[in-house]
Symmetry: C2
């Protein structure tokens, strides 16, 4: 790993682009001049509109406005940043925090949880919301668009992710049988939970759409004796996954294919997709359902594991622009567009929201432990952006702004399904 | 029970009405004259359109058309019935079978499963389907409409249901920890499963919307120490439920209220509705969500247990007209209209389809054992109609035409939720 601290060049263009844009010379605190009365008044209005949460804002004159005994203090260092925040707080907050134009004093997680809970109480659906939505049209998930969207996040360099993910490099929500088990154990428990939910039998064929670095595909082949075809459009991930399959002697039973889920062909007994639906885009759910319909054998079943929401709504603008371009986190109603047009039978839905919050806490702790090395690999702004992304995600899952759904389904009318879900916990059909 | 075989007068008007209509003099087989070539041709076309299933039709001349070695033979006794079937098979089949104008020779269940599976392969959404849908507009679920719809089915007389339901008189899908447990055990297991899914604590308050004869409300109070307000618009059921509460000394902790779910008021920790959503009607789901939103405390949670479908579609016309007026069985996407407008968080969905098939098999067996007494209470047409309803429902659940969903939900953002679902199986949070 030591010799690989050289992946600065691997930074995708969006990331470098953002850094170039954000390092444009900003008006320094001194140059911003005195804070105007209208600016102070606006801060007061904003805090009161948010329900007077226990936070304070400090503008570039150093005067604190808001709660007298705040849980967190947001320091805004210059006038330009202040007005950018007013114009588009969702997007600008993340950019300004990454660039150091604002700082949060106090517990960032606590601060973000407060903000998320405030947001939930705000009325939705006004004209300004509509305009903001229009401005935020995501990059389309065409075949080329998807590839570029995925490249942005997942091709930051395996070395980067290896620094703070678990040993198996699983970059999706873990399953903690109890809150105090380790991240490594929880990721293995998650893979086993999924395998039990799919009641895999030796010799069966599995298709995986969106396979990351291949941990689940290899786990299924290794422990459950199935053969797997695993798809991913991230070149770096597929390369690593293939190396792992070869090193483990599993290359004959696990095929890693660098391609889009829409090109999946052939027949399978089991369809699995863990953490890919977020990147599919709601307008392509029916197309995903068609792919499953085309591939799945009559007694087939599958699982879709995805971040979701309690009601339809867009991702935070900054996350969607800077972290996961093209991503969308659907409500269960929207997720049903994958299943209902072809009458798949939903057997089971489990919400693991708090498990994702805990997974992210592990990632954040590990990330902080290697932050100096990450700063060497990229820069300080990158570290601050990723800190915000990880902590913001913890806050989103803890406040319920985001959910994590595992949806198990079978072909319509298939009676080759588990008798009770005790099979999912114990591997046996009856209690 | 002996003295109560006098409930003929309790038969609601729709039932008597149907019987009067259906006993209009029909043209007997002899009077129908010879079978025309076009009729024989139509039968052939019909069977071929259904994919040539292993069944045969016998018209009033006694000649068998269709499969040479059929699993079942449908005998149509007269020309008028034949043409009624052609005009509206879904509705007329049930009526004609009840009246004895057609008969099914062979295994009725096997025959109905064949038909259900054929139906699933037919294309949907043509003009004729649209016309049929329009003709079938269900009776509105206004406050008065609901009361009348419920009266039709649930006020047939407790004595009737007592003849063949389990000891506790639970008239919803049971939960069989293993397929060979008794119906009584399975209904108790279902009630315990629901109570575990709701992690009831002594002293908490529960609202039940649609409580049948009160078995679950009494079970919750008796075994879990909660207090329950249980609503139902069926006068007969509420009367019996109150008597049971009094007899058990639970009247101070279980209040049975003869009223519509829309009138529910006050605050509760837990909301539960088992087998009522089918009678709510899709246009009132959001209203139900509002009722829950109004009542539920911040750490509140609830369960909705309902018959559903893999894709949106109407109930069989005969079931909707003769058995459950105003009923509708929604897809999961439709069910989300209860939860998403108010951002309830869906924690868990379990599909118990095959458990309902097995529950219905128990009911059918028990019903057949007392069929002579039921015929005394009502008449032979009533017995045939209920046989068709019970066996048709087994077929619907076995073929996947119907599903059974249990949806557990909590208030948006509430973190007072179980850590894992092992709590639902074992009562403990961690595996």
């Amino acid at each position: 790993m030591g010799s690989s601290v050289s992946s600065r060049a691997a930074l995708p263009p969006q990331w470098s682009g953002r850094r170039v844009r954000s390092s444009l010379p900003t008006v320094s605190g001194r140059k911003s001049g005195p804070v105007w009365a209208v600016e102070r008044w606006l801060v007061g209005r904003l805090l009161s509109a948010l329900g007077s949460p226990p936070i304070a804002l400090v503008l570039w004159d150093g005067v604190s406005i808001g709660h007298a005994n705040p849980k967190a203090r947001v320091k805004i260092h210059d006038r330009r940043t202040f007005w950018q925040l007013l114009a588009n707080v969702s997007l600008s907050f993340g950019d300004a925090l990454s660039d150091g134009r604002i700082e949060v004093e106090g517990d960032l997680l606590e601060f973000l949880e407060i903000i998320y809970r405030c947001e939930e109480t705000q009325p939705r659906g006004g004209l300004l919301d509509a305009l903001a939505e229009w401005r935020r049209r995501p990059r389309a998930n065409t075949l080329g668009g998807s590839r570029s969207n995925i490249h942005h996040h997942y091709d930051l360099g395996d070395d980067f992710y290896r620094l703070w993910l678990d040993r198996e490099m699983v970059y999706t929500c873990a399953y903690f049988p109890a809150p105090d088990v380790s991240l490594e154990e929880a990721q293995t428990a998650k893979m086993d939970l999924i395998c039990r939910k799919l009641w895999l039998k030796p010799g069966q064929t599995v298709v995986e759409a969106g396979c990351g670095w291949g941990a689940l595909a290899l786990h299924m082949a290794r422990r459950y004796g199935v053969t797997v075809k695993a798809y991913n459009v991230s070149r770096e991930q597929i390369r690593t996954a293939r190396e792992r399959a070869k090193a483990e002697g599993l290359a004959s039973r696990v095929e890693f294919i660098e391609d889009d889920y829409r090109t999946i062909h052939g027949q399978c007994d089991v369809f699995t997709s863990i953490g890919m639906l977020e990147h599919v885009g709601a307008d392509c759910y029916q197309q995903l359902g068609e792919v499953i319909h085309r591939c799945l054998r009559p007694a087939g079943r599958g699982i879709v594991h995805t971040i979701g929401r309690d009601h339809p709504g867009r991702l935070n603008a900054w996350i969607e622009r800077r972290i996961f371009p093209g991503a969308y986190t659907p409500s269960l109603r929207e997720i049903m567009d994958v299943f209902e047009p072809r009458s798949f039978s939903v057997l089971d839905v489990e919400n693991l929201r708090l498990h994702y919050a805990l997974t992210l806490q592990h990632w954040r702790d590990r990330f902080e432990a290697v932050a100096p090395r990450v700063e060497q690999m990229f820069d300080a702004a990158f570290v601050r952006a990723w800190r915000l992304y990880l902590v913001g995600s913890i806050a989103a899952f803890r406040t319920g702004s985001l959910q994590l759904f595992q949806v198990v389904f079978a072909r319509h009318g298939s009676n080759e399904i588990p008798w009770t879900r005790s099979r999912f916990l114990t591997g046996h059909d009856h209690e």
